[in-house]
């Protein structure tokens, strides 16, 4: 898997590069700002661009804008956005149309090699990766007449992992249960929340996220 890494902090960028390379991911280019990122992405056509949200010149949301640009211009390049803060609003923006080949992770996750590489691989293979904190914010949001109260604790766990963009197999591995059991839970969740049944993959993520955003 070929990756471009963009972060204006050299220290962090080199750290990320080293972690990725250690797990066998090939880093084909590095960038310190959005402009350089676009150049490198166009030149190398990597599988994934790992992008920091805040970069020069304004240090606000260059990464998000670059992510959208890359997805529009080079749909075959996936993007994993890293952010110092994760906000539901940013996740919503990023995943507005599609969750395919997109990820949004808290920057802290780079300390957890497995979480980072897992997200890179998932996104790189057309899946999605949403930070558990964003998901827990969505799940934790209190609502009147909360339909989530219908769910069992295990179903809530499965719902959260689905929202993060995990496959049934990954969920099964995470919860140490059989894939059959996960499938049963997923069916139960979709029935209880009255969501249209949908197959594995990014459509399922979008359905879950839309529901969490606006359960009405």
């Amino acid at each position: 898997m070929r990756v471009v890494v963009a972060d204006d902090s050299t220290l962090l960028r080199e750290g990320i590069v080293r972690l990725l390379e250690e797990t066998g991911i090939e880093v084909v280019g590095q960038a310190g700002d959005a402009e350089e990122l676009m150049r490198k992405v166009r030149a190398h056509k990597p599988d994934v661009a790992v992008v920091d949200v805040r970069m020069p010149p304004t240090h606000t949301d260059e990464g998000l804008r670059a992510a959208r640009e890359i997805r529009a211009e080079l749909p075959e390049v996936s993007v994993l956005v890293l952010s110092q803060y994760v906000e539901v609003a940013y996740a919503r923006e990023l995943l507005a149309e599609s969750a395919e080949g997109l990820g949004y992770l808290l920057k802290d996750r780079v300390a957890d090699v497995e979480a980072l590489t897992d997200a890179v691989r998932r996104v790189g293979s057309g899946g999605s990766a949403l930070d558990p904190e964003v998901v827990s914010q969505m799940l934790g949001r209190r609502r009147r007449d909360d339909p989530l109260e219908e769910l069992t604790p295990r179903e809530r766990e499965v719902l959260g992992l689905m929202a993060e963009g995990r496959t049934n197999a990954a969920i099964a591995a995470e919860l140490v249960v059989s894939e059959r059991a996960v499938e049963k839970h997923v069916t139960g969740i979709f029935a209880k929340l009255e969501l249209p049944a949908s197959g594995d993959g990014h459509r399922r993520v979008l359905a879950v996220l839309r529901f969490l955003e606006d359960p009405a």
């Binding site: 949301d61 803060y85 539901v88 609003a89 940013y90 914010q137 934790g140 949001r141 209190r142 009147r144």
Partner: protein
């Protein structure tokens, strides 16, 4: 020239003519004496009352004083008619000669407003008119001037019924008694008014009270000694004295009236002074309020720094210290106990993750990045997401607002929602931010226990200062069991 002024000038001309005619009567009279003195006093008092009265009427058209003084001037000339050799004119002079004294009493009792304020004053003035008009007429029916007034040159009384002295004396006694009572009451009223008055009012009253009281006192003396049968010389002297003082009276009224104009100007100026003082006091209060609020804002800044310092010290700093120790231990055990080293490193990573999370939350509290990058709608959504109480965002402006306004609105909502979560025991809260007519209205309502107090905590007070700094207003509505509504109105052109 106004109609009133033309009429007043006409009256002045008439007064002049009447005066000249009366003067001619006196000079031509075969019984008036001493002729020169009488002429001077009749004309002096008559004209001065008429002219000063007309002047006062012109200057203060709304006040009765001018018309009353003018009436005194005109009726005063009746006295001059008593010098007439013609019996009709003589009779008119006899009947009308006392009228000006009643008008004068009314004037004195009603000075300076021109209105009789009390029942007592109205009674006294009424009595004076009774004595000087109807009783005087009745009296005239029984007076034969050639007999009773030792006036050989006087013409015959054309309305004489009976010259019997007993009748005219009885009526006269009643008149004198009534006159004394009326005069005494009015002098009493005038003095009482004067005593009650302020310094400014006394400036108006004093000349009138002094001259008026003097004139009527002399008149009283005259009436009393008239009954005592003193010599004609004494009678004539008191008559002259009283007429002289009466002739001075209109000037006293004029001075008083003009002073009352000045007094009014002083009143206006003192009202302005009072208003000025009120404004100054309000301004002073505003300055105090601003000073206090500025002080609180500075204090809040320091308090915030202390909070950040304490959080850093208790949180991230402590964790990093622990991390350093763990790493040192791990390094020491590396060779002899790899398992323990791995555990220590795991612990270290956990500490690090927590420290990072704490730093992130601290940074978010200092400056909400979402707000500055995505605006109120997104930032309030973030607040709602993190609130442990269900929050419904009813309305937020579509467009971006000025930074300071967004910040203030955001912190109002943030603090209000924090309070809802902490104290309100609410089932839910609603947030509404709307921009109408150049004002951004922020409203956070909950359905909780209520009883919040702006003065109780520093949080709400801090919000009030934040909003006041933008010239906005801030309020809390909260009664027990009725929930709490926090409202802010921030100008935003």
């Amino acid at each position: 020239m106004s109609g009133l002024r033309r009429a007043l000038i006409g009256l002045a001309g008439l007064a002049l003519l009447i005066g000249v005619a009366v003067a001619a009567l006196i000079l031509d009279s075969n019984h008036a004496s001493p002729r020169g003195l009488l002429l001077g006093l009749i004309l002096g008092a008559g004209w001065s009352f008429a002219f000063t009265g007309l002047y006062a009427w012109d200057r203060r058209p709304g006040n009765n004083i001018g018309p009353l003084m003018t009436a005194i001037g005109f009726t005063w000339f009746f006295q001059g008619l008593q010098a007439a050799d013609d019996s009709i004119l003589f009779a008119i002079g006899t009947v009308g000669g006392t009228v000006p004294f009643a008008i004068l009493l009314q004037l004195l009792a009603g000075f300076p407003s021109g209105h009789l304020q009390t029942l007592l004053a109205r009674g006294a003035v009424g009595l004076a008119y009774l004595v000087t008009v109807p009783l005087q007429f009745v009296w005239a029916l029984f007076v034969d001037p050639t007999v009773q007034r030792d006036c050989d040159g006087c013409p015959k009384n054309p309305i004489l019924i009976d010259g019997y002295e007993g009748v005219s004396n009885a009526i006269n006694a009643f008149q004198v008694l009534g006159g004394i009572v009326a005069i005494a009451i009015v002098i009493g009223i005038v003095i009482a008014n004067w005593r009650r008055s302020s310094e400014t009012e006394r400036r108006v009253l004093t000349p009138v009270v002094f001259t008026g009281s003097l004139a009527f006192t002399i008149l009283l003396v005259q009436l009393i000694i008239g009954e005592l049968g003193v010599s004609n010389t004494v009678k004539e002297l008191t008559y002259i004295a009283s007429i002289t003082v009466f002739a001075c009276l209109p000037f006293a009224f004029l001075v008083g009236l003009l002073r009352s104009r000045i007094g009014r100007a002083e009143e206006v100026s003192s009202a302005l002074t009072i208003e000025n003082e009120q404004l100054t006091a309000e301004l002073q209060a505003k300055v105090e309020e601003l000073r206090a609020s500025r002080h609180r804002i500075v204090e809040a800044g320091y308090a915030e720094r202390r909070r950040v310092e304490r959080n850093l010290h208790d949180g991230a700093q402590q964790r990093l210290m622990a991390l350093t120790m763990n790493l040192r231990l791990a390094r020491d055990k590396l060779a002899e106990d790899p398992t323990a080293t791995a555990e220590l490193l795991d612990e270290a990573m956990e500490e690090l993750a927590t420290a990072t999370a704490e730093l992130r939350e601290l940074a978010r509290g200092i400056h909400p990045v979402l707000l500055s990058e995505r605006g109120l709608r997104a930032a309030l959504g973030g607040l709602a997401d993190r609130s442990p109480v269900p929050v419904e965002i009813i309305e937020t402006p579509e467009e971006r607002l000025p930074d300071a306004v967004e910040m203030a609105a955001y912190f109002v909502v943030a603090e209000a929602l924090t309070n809802v979560a902490r104290y309100a025991e609410a089932e839910g809260a609603t947030v509404r931010v709307a921009r109408h007519n150049g004002v951004v209205e922020v409203e956070v309502s909950d359905d909780g226990a209520g009883g919040a107090d702006l003065d109780a905590g520093t949080g709400l007070r801090g919000l009030e200062d934040r909003v006041a700094a933008l010239e906005g207003s801030f309020g809390v509505r909260s009664s027990a069991g009725q929930g709490t509504t926090v409202e802010a109105r921030i100008p935003c052109a």
